[in-house]
């Protein structure tokens, strides 16, 4: 393709479209894209307008990246792990089982070479990406009965997708791929035994607490998932430098906005869920240990034939090792004390 010429005018009027992978009802994750677009509009006096579309309005939610790659829309707001069918490397820039927590993920992407590695990879698809949201550590999901051991996972039909599903399959789970709207009826009927979604605020909206009693944590496959704003690379290259800077800053702002908003909403929702009878349960160490082992096995299998994945996962793992070395000193001991003394004012 011949590159479009750069737009010479310094503040041209531009109207772009952005497709979200989410419905409007998920007001925080969908809202992150809305907030992003508003920032761009405000910084340009509405000269650069990015019109946002919910999942399904232009393309289905899980085709948002593709729609950006093929320039159906200039931008998308989605999670790169949805595209592991193309290449499992996609997952690492969002979240993989036992990956980085939200702040470490930002550090890796912004300061540890992660974004550069990501964009080298996304470039193959004609796309450039910007971190534009994070949910924080997610919950492990809703279970109709208690699970205590790895044996309890055997044959368990759980709605969980992508690489997390592959990991859980190794420990006996039968992963089910279901769209958001199909989860509740399946769980109600018992067609599935368990389902993971996001965290208290989003999960409560879908009503899972009415059809499954046990709410497990942590969602070890999503320690701090990054939501990306993706931009068609050729279109990106036509933007004046000022608009490129404006878009970059708006995405960074929206990245923090989403995490801050989930952190405001989740405690309140969690309290309501527990007051309504939801039983919180931690995954047992036996289950976590088995899943970590399964995860490392899977990385070995994928890395054997996929050099991009191998390079990226090893880079992330080295970063993670350093991050948690430091985390266990100041951050973690601080949080430990604060949790222990929470009720003492």
């Amino acid at each position: 393709a011949v590159a479009s010429p750069a737009i010479a005018q310094s503040a041209p009027e531009i109207k772009w479209r952005m497709t979200s992978s989410f419905p409007k009802s998920l007001d925080t994750i969908y809202g992150g894209a809305d907030y992003f677009a508003k920032q761009v509009a405000e910084m340009t006096d509405n000269k650069f307008q990015i019109q946002l579309f919910a999942a399904g309005e232009i393309v289905p939610g899980l085709q948002a990246f593709d729609a950006t790659a093929n320039n159906t829309v200039e931008m998308s707001h989605t999670v790169s792990y949805y595209y592991v069918g193309k290449d499992p490397t996609f997952a690492i820039f969002a979240s993989v089982p036992f990956g980085l927590n939200a702040r470490q993920q930002n550090s890796w992407l912004y300061q540890g070479g992660g974004n550069e590695l990501a964009n080298e990879f996304f470039k193959k698809f004609g796309v450039i990406g910007f971190p534009c949201g994070n949910t924080g550590t997610q919950m492990g999901g809703w279970f109709r009965k208690e699970i205590k051991t790895v044996a309890d996972l055997s044959g368990l039909k759980m709605r969980i997708g992508g690489i997390a599903g592959q990991v859980l399959q190794k420990v006996g789970v039968v992963p089910q791929q279901l769209a958001g709207g199909d989860i509740y009826p399946s769980l109600e009927k018992g067609t599935i035994d368990a389902a993971e979604w996001v965290g208290p605020y989003d999960d409560e909206k879908l009503g899972f607490q009415k059809v499954a009693k046990y709410y497990y944590y942590p969602g070890f496959w999503e320690g701090g998932p990054t939501v990306h704003a993706f931009c068609n690379l050729e279109k990106w290259n036509t933007l004046p430098k000022t608009y490129q800077a404006i878009l970059t800053n708006a995405a960074a702002n929206a990245n923090t906005w989403m995490a801050a908003r989930y952190d405001m909403q989740n405690p309140v929702a969690l309290k309501r869920l527990v007051a309504g009878g939801t039983q919180l349960r931690p995954f047992s160490n036996e289950i976590l240990d088995a899943c970590l082992k399964a995860t490392n096995e899977l990385w070995g299998e994928i890395s054997a034939t996929n050099p991009d994945f191998k390079k990226t996962i090893e880079t992330m793992q080295a970063y993670r090792s350093d991050e948690y070395l430091w985390w266990q000193v100041a951050e973690y001991t601080y949080d430990s004390f604060m949790i222990r003394s929470r009720t003492r004012g």
Copy 2:
């Protein structure tokens, strides 16, 4: 004062000055302001230029806020707890002992009404503030000898300022106010017994590891301190809406940039320090418990005569209680497992 008229032109050429509370050598905390100013310049094609000055170039580091209030400079980059001499309420918007961690602090400020409360307060001084950096949980500082009990703190001369100094004084410490450059010689000569600064990356630069063996954690008086960009309110009101939006987005971006950069730098510095012989030590529960008790006493004393402080500390405490209620579920158990299994890949 008569308000300056709003600048009618949509993209006027503006040159402002910003004074930092930090020397250039602290390249991450000073660098946050530099990054901020660069973002503003890039987004406006250099039409809105904010020239940055290090501490002492225009005004001393600890007068940065005042210089903004009285319009000596339009902006400053500083930590609001430096100004507790005017009113202890200033501290709460940056960090107080046993306050919020970095992500919770963002949630409170951006989504929990914290920024609105802050700016209602800063308005009394003719200033508006924007979170523009965070160090993460700091270290507890360098000690020439081990301290295990509260009795060991008795008479200990420690370089620590502000409200943290007042708390430690209640448990026997003799707080010392020393500028950054005076700490090393005082610690070397034994004029002081201990000193706190920031964290591994910044502390290593000042060479404290050469004159004190024990490096304590966590810095419970700075769980996640916010660095602010302050702007003279009257000057702020003259900006076109686009520039206000640009400045706001640049500050939010720089806020994350600084935390991400410290998170990248601290692990590497920590490894060097430990390899060089530094002995890491956690504060004992006895010390942490006594300091929490002293902190709550101090809040009662200040609140008795200062309604702004009372309102703000109670708001922060309520937010903190909810945050850590949620934190202990997904985030903390995730970090716990990751720390425990760090060496297992």
